[in-house]
């Protein structure tokens, strides 16, 4: 998760002039499940605070996921050490591993695959070293289930509520999702995911405010800002929230790792790129009500549109 001011590194999510729910996944060019950005230290502090104070909300797992959790530890550590050798390293002597996080100056020895090497579960341990939220889905009897996860920055959903739930039930509340047969198709796609060939997709929404932790449990704290949006303050107050989701098949358990990296950019910053302004304006004005409702934009969509139109007008050369 990050607040971005730098447009170049913003994962701009749009193509074309309309938006509908779809499986917009593409094969990943560089197979990396996590990234380390300049905000690493600051974000790890925020994440660890959430994990320590809201353990239930941010971490859940079912007992049969331990092998899958170890696969995640291995994948994440291998990627960190290979991609950021100056910041992370790992030494493996058989099953005795030493993981060194040089940024936080933390060194951890453990027995890979061993029980009770950490005071917490393997997934909980590794999630304290990466900026991404980490979700483990297990494929059981022809379906996918959310069986473990560390989730600090959810976009309006709840981990505790969805634990052990079938993939299709998790998505059930999305209007239009089921009618379009999309849940079946995405499920079918995920079940065909193969090890060694990871995928990524971007998911976007708008939010009033710049809060990363928009869990269901904290709705009372962030929901009300949505009523305060005006065309005057929209540029500053409203943010576009983009989740970059990466999908990896875990070969030992046949489970799937989702890593979610959440980015926030204020509209003000977004529209400083003329092309983006134009495209976003087209997309938002065309968006059908069932999507605006679900994304929670309906309350202030008109204010945002007025803001965007004014920006478009003012940029015109007369």
């Amino acid at each position: 998760m990050k607040w971005i001011n730098n447009l170049e590194s913003f994962p701009y999510p749009f193509k074309g002039s309309t938006y509908r729910y779809s499986n917009n996944s593409i094969p990943m060019k560089t197979p990396l499940c996590v990234e380390v950005t300049p905000d690493y230290i600051e974000e790890m502090q925020l994440k660890r605070t959430l994990l320590n104070h809201h353990a239930e909300r941010c971490y859940q797992s079912l007992p049969h996921t331990i092998t899958g959790q170890w696969e995640i530890v291995e994948l994440v550590i291998d990627h960190l050490a290979a991609q950021y050798p100056d910041q992370f390293s790992v030494e493996k002597k058989g099953s005795k591993w030493t993981f060194n996080n040089k940024i936080l100056e933390e060194k951890q020895e453990f027995t890979f695959g061993g029980e009770s090497t950490f005071p917490e579960e393997p997934l909980a341990f590794i999630s304290r070293h990466v900026q991404e939220d980490l979700i483990l889905m297990m494929q059981r009897d022809g379906d996918l289930y959310l069986d473990a996860g560390q989730l600090c920055f959810p976009a309006n959903w709840s981990l505790a509520f969805n634990l052990g739930m079938k993939f299709k039930c998790i998505h059930h509340p999305i209007p239009g999702f089921k009618e379009e047969g999309l849940d079946d198709r995405i499920l079918q796609f995920l079940m065909r995911l193969e090890a060694g060939n990871p995928w990524e997709r971007k998911n976007w929404s708008l939010m009033a405010g710049d809060r990363l932790d928009t869990s269901l449990e904290t709705f009372d704290q962030w929901g009300k800002l949505r009523k305060q949006v005006t065309k005057e303050n929209a540029g500053e107050l409203v943010h576009i929230r983009v989740e970059v989701q990466k999908l990896f098949r875990l070969p030992r358990t046949n489970g799937i790792l989702f890593t979610i990296n959440t980015h926030l950019l204020s509209l003000e910053n977004l529209v400083s790129n003329r092309e983006w302004l134009k495209q976003f304006h087209d997309i938002l004005s065309e968006l059908p009500p069932h999507i605006t409702d679900y994304k929670g934009i309906s309350l202030y969509k008109n204010e945002v549109l007025k803001y965007l139109s004014e920006k478009l007008e003012s940029g015109k050369v007369v």
Binding site: I26, P27, D141, R185, Q188, E194, G196, N197, R252, N254
Partner: protein
């Protein structure tokens, strides 16, 4: 076109299991550990021999010990080059590419008891499945049919490792797997079939007749082929527009070039986004997305990879 990532390996050892079956031990070229795998997993092997020979083989080694992989290859009478190459040309030290492990034949999670029915080389996927169940302490049995004791692959191995869990059926002794054994399994049993097509379909039919729910009956499925040579074809749209799809072009590209707003995302036949309805014409499916039933219904096409068998396809766009 979608090209999966591959791992370079070399042949570390070759053993003659019996007259028709050879076992090959594969190790990573840079001596790294290979990815672990789950019970029932297989790999694709890529061999360059005039043309590219791509074949799928189950991994028969231990899923947790991945210093090397082992596969078992039966010389097929109708070999189109794959198993013949493995048997006649492959030498220790030869290099080839393999895919990451994939699993289209996973163990059931909820089964109370697992029963494997194998005929001949169909034993191979069950080796890693039994290994996994054994290490979990779950209960399973193996019913294994072979022509003779000599031709029975992994005969010694099975006797040594799972002495109380197998039953052999040798046809030279007039022993046959009888579908009546399906009646004896306790409630909550899942059955798995692997072997020649007729073996699988006979058992599957019997299992359904006995009232096994489809979710408790598991059979092996393989990856679809890629097009060998691409032929041009035409499509017709609802408004009568004709679009020509050239030999070196996908249907999706042809549509987009015409300014038609066809949906797409991955462009490699795996995400399902580019699906369009087909009203007329015969589709050649090259995707890894639709199920067999969906393909056979001939009503939907993934435009990014699939093509037409007939000269013309009529689309509902």
């Amino acid at each position: 076109m979608y090209k999966e990532k591959t791992i370079p390996v070399y042949v570390k050892a070759i053993e003659q299991e019996n007259e028709f079956i050879r076992r090959f031990t594969l190790a990573s070229v840079n001596e790294e550990l290979l990815p672990k795998f789950s019970g029932g997993a297989h790999i694709s092997t890529y061999i360059e021999h005039g043309e590219l020979l791509v074949r799928q083989y189950s991994l028969t080694s231990n899923p947790d010990d991945t210093k090397h992989y082992q596969i078992a290859v039966r010389l097929s009478d109708t070999s189109r080059g794959g198993s013949r190459y493995w048997h006649e040309k492959m030498k220790v030290g030869d290099q080839l590419q393999i895919s990451y492990p994939k699993n289209h034949f996973p163990l059931s999670f909820k089964a109370k008891h697992h029963v494997f029915y194998a005929a001949g080389i169909g034993i191979t996927p069950f080796l890693s499945m039994m290994n996994e169940l054994h290490s979990r302490g779950s209960s399973f049995e193996l019913y294994y049919a072979s022509k003779t004791e000599e031709a029975c692959a992994f005969y010694d191995f099975l006797q040594e490792h799972y002495p109380n869990q197998y039953r052999f059926y040798f046809s030279n002794k007039r022993e046959r797997i009888n579908s009546s054994s399906l009646e004896e399994h306790p409630i909550g049993t899942h059955v798995y079939f692997c072997g020649p097509e007729s073996f699988i379909s006979d058992l599957t039919e019997s299992a359904y007749q006995l009232g096994y729910p489809p979710s408790a009956v598991h059979t092996e499925r393989f990856t679809p082929p890629q097009p060998k040579d691409m032929q041009p074809f035409n499509v017709q749209l609802k408004d009568g527009t004709l679009v020509e799809v050239a030999r070196d072009q996908t249907l999706l590209e042809a549509l987009l070039n015409k300014g038609i707003k066809a949906p797409y995302s991955c462009r490699v036949g795996r995400c399902g986004t580019c699906e369009l309805q087909v009203v007329e014409g015969e589709i050649a499916h090259y995707d890894s997305f639709f199920s067999e039933d969906q393909k056979q219904s001939q009503s939907r096409i993934l435009t990014c990879v699939s093509r037409s068998k007939s000269a013309m396809l009529v689309l509902d766009v």
